[in-house]
Amino acid sequence: MSHGTAPRVSEARPLAGSSVRRHDGDAYVSGRIGYTDDLSLPGTAHVVLVRSDVPHARITVDVRDASTRPGVLTVATGRSLAGEYGPIPNAMDPVPTGGQPLEIHVLPVDKVVYVGQPVAAVVAESLAQALAAAADVKVHYEPLPHVMDPEAALAADAPLLYESWGSNVMLSGTVGSGDVEAAAARSAGVIHGTLRTGRGAPAPLEPRAYCADWDARTRRLTWYGTTQAPHPLRHTIAEFLGLRERDVRVVAPPVGGSFGFKNFGHPEEYLVCVLAVALARPVQWTEDRASTLRYGARDSRLAYTASYDDDGRVTSVACDMVANHGAASATGAFGMAFAGSLAMPSGYQVPDFRCDYRVVVTNKGPWSPLRPFGKEAGVLLMETVMDAVARRTGLDPLEVRRRNWVKADQFPYVTTTGLELDSGDYEGLLDKALTVLDYAAFREEQARARGQGRYLGLGVGFEVLPEGADIPGALIGASDISTVRMSPSGDVTVLTGVTSPGNGNDTAIMQIVADRLGVAMDSVSIVQGDTDICPFGFGNVSSRGILTGGGSAALAADDVAAKLRQVAASMLHVDDAERLVLRDGFVSVDGDLEQALPIAVVAHALYTVGYIVAPDVEPTLESTRTFRMRNIRHHADDDGKIMPFSTFSNGIYLSVVEVDIDTGVVDILRHVMVHDCGVMINPRFVTGQFTGGVVNGIGAALTEEVLHDPDGRQLSTGFKTFLLPRASDVPAFEIQHQVTPSPFTPLGTKGAGEGGVACTMASLLNAVNDALSPLGASITELPAVPHRVLAAIGGGQR
């Protein structure tokens, strides 16, 4: 064996933890990426939806005039389709957990339950013709009383959206354990409070777009559209249409942002299929911005009682959550109330805890899944409680958190809602944040500023996000499948069941595979989002892209690598295949490039002269593997609890704000972020997830709110009335990473898709209240828009 000067391969896997660029970034920046609405299949017919003007009414729809207009191919109504098609399948069903049955039709059959609900679909040769004809659809409304407020919807005499339920409660439940009343009775103090979150909206820049194409000859449906979940959607489309799954192909082109909104269960996903089958040609629907904004989230009230001892330890928390779901939907959005409850009591040791939640329907548009899938409720509650305990005990808010956190040596730790937190170092997060922000200096600056009539505040937000969900009975699982194959020229293709909402997980998966096979990035390509090509997968939900998509790709790549080693061992006359190293494009003996073969040569040899070079090796350079999280538990424990989440990313944020007490405007001066999502495959992509989440959180905390008038009309229908933060509204962020690897994943990753939103909402709420504290004022409702801040100041002792 040669020593010293002999050429050797790189010491470490070169791509692991490296912020390589997006593999297809040049196509993006030069406008060459085709999103769904950029496709145009020959002969496509266009859909325009006629929408309800009233929030609650029985309807009859007269389409006779519209049907005769130029270019019109058909006009569908709920009634015209009801004979042939039942309700659409539910992404999640509330019934098994004691909730109400959901029957969502592609178009409502006899009544509408929110303003803007589609009541008829006009299909024409051109969009302009469909729009013109839509004006001639006559809808007769028999108005019913409507209810927009969830607490009013709980009243005994409230109008019922779905009469057969007997109430407006879709689902209710309780999580937690212990005896909160007894714990409170023996504690030093008790705090009561209420928090409210306004109605937010996912609002991706790309509205939804769906195109279905029915081939009457082969009786096969191809569906193109904005979806996060091609395989689950294929399953439900087949079920809905009465087709075999093999006769439905779902293709998901790149999407312009999802944030949960583009998971499956929207009526229009199935509507375009019905219309395509009826017309035997491609049918396309693209929504407008107002339609996108009709899907909301949050809009919840949390009433809480917390008890504490003089040492700042929280002894119990009881929470009553009322979630305003708006109209029912099949998207499984109701699960956000459950997830928000389970996310309590966060990473704190609260021995007695209970959350009672009720998901209430009202005459607003439906809830949509929205990152971080309701978990912001749990984070906001606990971070509010921590600050309240600090005020009562006179302890510093940071110290109160330190005293209540699960300690780094206590993992795995089972919370009082039954989640087994895998790993973490919460105090480490805070220590890191304090290396960036000089806390004592800030307090001095704050005191000086107050002397000058300026109101600065610092707020803490800490989040633990249950991710990697596996929901029993639903097509949301903590596993995914990937195939890795190498061609005779050494080209590697990855096929995976996870999809990318644009976050770069495709590139990161290529990094993982390239490293394990010892090849360069440009030897690897990836295919996502096509059910005819890719293995089954759950798409992108619950931060799974790298967790299970990357995990399964790593396992499959390792199989192919093992095969290459076996073949190369035979070709290089080495007995022990384990001595072979795949790196830098070569298979080498112990990393020695003088005893090496190009990987492409080994692949080619196996395909072409396998009987000679490796007669005992099965000539397959392909593997399909599943990675499934092993810490999910669906059998209930003695307490009746299951463990539906598999990984727990966490983070702490410190926000510094200045509140202008004359205008009520909140200005963010600093935002320090420390997060821990375990091992990062591509740190720049991870950072991008968090900075994006932060600005979603800033919007939810300060500016974004979907408003309705008393007549049930939605006032926020565009970006002038639903205010997304702009670049000039947010500061530069101060970002730190902490890495506590997950013990349950092959790569140590934890999932980064939902981070930053919740703890930004909490840190800004607490920062505003810290700023207002000298005035005796505080806000308890987000977003902290100027009128709310001014009202709080007016109610304080200014």
Binding site: R21, V29, S30, G31, R289, G688, V695, A732
Partner: protein, 170 residues
């Protein structure tokens, strides 16, 4: 311009120079410019995110001026020279702003790129060494829901630095 009856609707002939090529199409005179670019000329780089001038996803350069093409009627662009992000690359080589957006991972879903890239280009044409605040103001007419703007600001800064280092073309 000529007007003809066609398929029950009236169309108007529109001629443009689009991404360096002279093009003609029959468009519905009610079309927004972005609709005509996408549907009648088949150039899909400009996106429709709002159709109210708020998000900037439809931005293109029209006669040298960056323009939210959802705020103009197609027929008003007769004879115009229009450049989309599809036409920015010269001989297949990305321009300095496009390259920096790729290098700095300044996009996720990519839907906002037309607006961000053209706003950044316009800023750099006027101010070769912009401050962070200059950059944030320059791109604030465009919305991004994915990145939190941090990486976009970094990309504009990188593009500015690279542009200062290389001699100007032409």
């Amino acid at each position: 311009m000529s007007t003809t009856e066609h398929d029950h609707s009236t169309t108007t002939r529109l001629s443009l120079n689009l991404d360096g090529t002279d093009r003609t199409a029959d468009v519905d005179p009610r079309s927004l410019l972005v609709e005509a670019l996408r549907d009648d000329f088949g150039v899909t780089a400009p996106k429709i995110g709002c159709a109210t001038g708020d998000c900037g996803a439809c931005t293109s350069r029209v006669d040298g001026q960056i323009t939210k093409t959802c705020l103009r009627l197609a027929v008003s662009a007769e004879g115009s020279q229009i450049v989309t992000t599809q036409g920015l690359a010269e001989d297949g080589e990305l321009d300095v702003v496009q390259q920096a957006f790729w290098d700095e991972q300044a996009f996720q879903c990519g839907f906002c790129l037309s607006g961000m890239i053209f706003a950044a280009s316009e800023l750099l044409a006027e101010n070769p060494d912009p401050s962070e605040q200059d950059i944030r103001w320059a791109i604030s007419g465009n919305l991004c829901r994915c990145t939190g703007y941090e990486a976009i600001v970094a990309a504009v800064r990188t593009a500015a630095a690279r542009q200062r280092e290389i001699p100007q073309r032409g």
